[in-house]
């Protein structure tokens, strides 16, 4: 793929998302699809489901690339189908919340197109070990990976700008990794997502004017999982997504089961009268990443989001470092 083509992909997805968000937000407001911004004192109503703006900016370039590069069309179509499946589950969850036990199972189904189109290689590269052969286990890992990434990104979408901000950092890391590995064709995939995420960040950053909703966060999470599998950079992406995985795992392990934010009685954080957020001292509340950050004292929302971005940037540095510990990966 030519460098000009590679450079034009994020520009296209950035512009498309940038111009799609405002009319979409107006439409959502008119239809009453709004969510309360619970981390503000006045609790403003913000248009929900605006993550839908990321759909065309990701899907149109994928269709274009599959027409342009037929031998690799199955890769593009696998990503296309995986994100559409996860996104549709997100839409359903936004309109009518799904059972917390059913949602991960449904999001795992986003991995089925990758399996059906054989857009994976069952030989992940591990640090020190190099290429391994997991012919039987790998297809199951694909399903688990899609469920984990999409739900982990969804669970991290708690503060203004955190989802698009942290995912943009991870996506950029995927792009750099694929460039280092000289897989320029696969490098186009994170670039497409990156453009859209950056444009969306401008609207979702503090103070947020739009919310992504599950239709956006599950879509982005599934895209990251699919890029890891299709790009054959599984371990690198696991390390880059460590804050997201940490957050989801801490929450799940402290509650002891799959749960939905809405059903947790003892909240992990509390809003102080001065607008800052603090960790609660309830033993039964989930120990999320936010609660860990706030364990040392209260912070405002913007600072918490900055902490999350800093942790993601650190994990992405570790991810890049990990590439050099994998034998035979960098030629």
């Amino acid at each position: 793929m030519s460098p000009y083509m590679l450079a034009s992909l994020p520009v296209f997805s950035f512009l498309l998302t940038y111009f799609l968000v405002p009319p979409l937000a107006r439409r959502m407001s008119r239809r009453g699809i709004v969510g309360e911004d619970i981390h503000k004192l006045d609790r403003p109503k913000i248009p929900e489901m605006c993550g839908l703006s990321l759909w065309p900016s990701t899907l149109i370039p994928l269709i274009f690339l599959s027409l342009l590069d037929p031998p690799r069309a199955h890769f593009y179509l696998a990503l296309f189908s995986a994100v559409v499946v996860a996104g549709c589950i997100g839409v359903r969850d936004d309109l009518k919340p799904l059972n917390p036990k059913v949602k991960p199972a449904l999001t795992a189904a986003a991995g089925i197109p990758i399996l059906l189109l054989s857009a994976y290689s069952p030989s992940p590269h591990l640090p020190f070990i190099g290429g391994t052969r997991l012919t039987i286990v790998y297809p199951f890992l694909v399903l688990i990976a899609l469920a984990v990434t999409s739900n982990a990104v969804n669970m991290m979408d708690v503060f203004n700008g955190v989802m698009p901000g942290t995912c943009a950092i991870v996506t950029f890391t995927a792009f750099i990794t694929l460039l280092v590995l000289r897989r320029t064709t696969e490098a186009a995939l994170p670039l497409i997502l990156l453009g859209g995420l950056l444009a969306f960040y401008l609207f979702n950053r503090y103070p947020a004017r739009v919310f992504a909703g599950d239709s956006g966060s599950l879509f982005v999470g599934a895209a990251l999982g699919s890029i890891a599998i299709i790009g054959r950079i599984e371990i690198v992406m696991i390390v880059a997504l460590m804050p997201h995985i940490m957050n989801a795992y801490y929450g799940l392990s402290s509650i002891g089961r799959l749960y939905e934010r809405r059903e947790v009685e003892e909240r992990p954080t509390v809003m102080l009268p001065d607008g800052r957020i603090d960790a609660t001292k309830f033993r039964g509340a989930p120990i999320t990443l936010t609660r860990l950050i706030l364990a040392q004292g209260p912070l405002d929302e913007k600072a918490v989001a900055r902490f999350m971005a800093a942790l993601t940037a650190a994990s992405c540095l570790l991810a890049v470092l990990t590439i050099f510990l994998i034998p035979g990966m960098v030629r």
Binding site: P127, Y250, K281, R291, A295
Partner: protein
């Protein structure tokens, strides 16, 4: 910035344990039992997979333990105890 340090340490320790686990898998499961390969390849592969899962569980448990310990200590330092 100061409050970022313990969280970064948690992150780095999680990463370090992942790397060490890979190294142990290599040394204990890929290099040592090569002599057994002729005897029973299936059994060896089952053993490798089981050990991998065991390391994953151990990784998650250590991570959870460290996190809980940090959280309780940080709250206690502020004079707050979990109720």
């Amino acid at each position: 910035m100061r409050r970022l340090v313990p969280l970064l340490l948690l992150l780095v320790s999680g990463w370090f344990f992942l790397i060490v686990s890979s190294f142990l898998i290599l040394k204990l499961l890929f290099q040592l039992p090569t002599a057994l390969e002729g005897v029973n390849l299936i059994a060896l592969n089952v053993l490798r997979a089981a050990a991998g899962v065991l390391m994953l569980i151990l990784w998650l448990w250590v991570w959870r333990y460290q996190t809980r310990l940090y959280f309780v200590k940080a709250m206690r330092r502020r004079g707050l105890s979990l109720e």
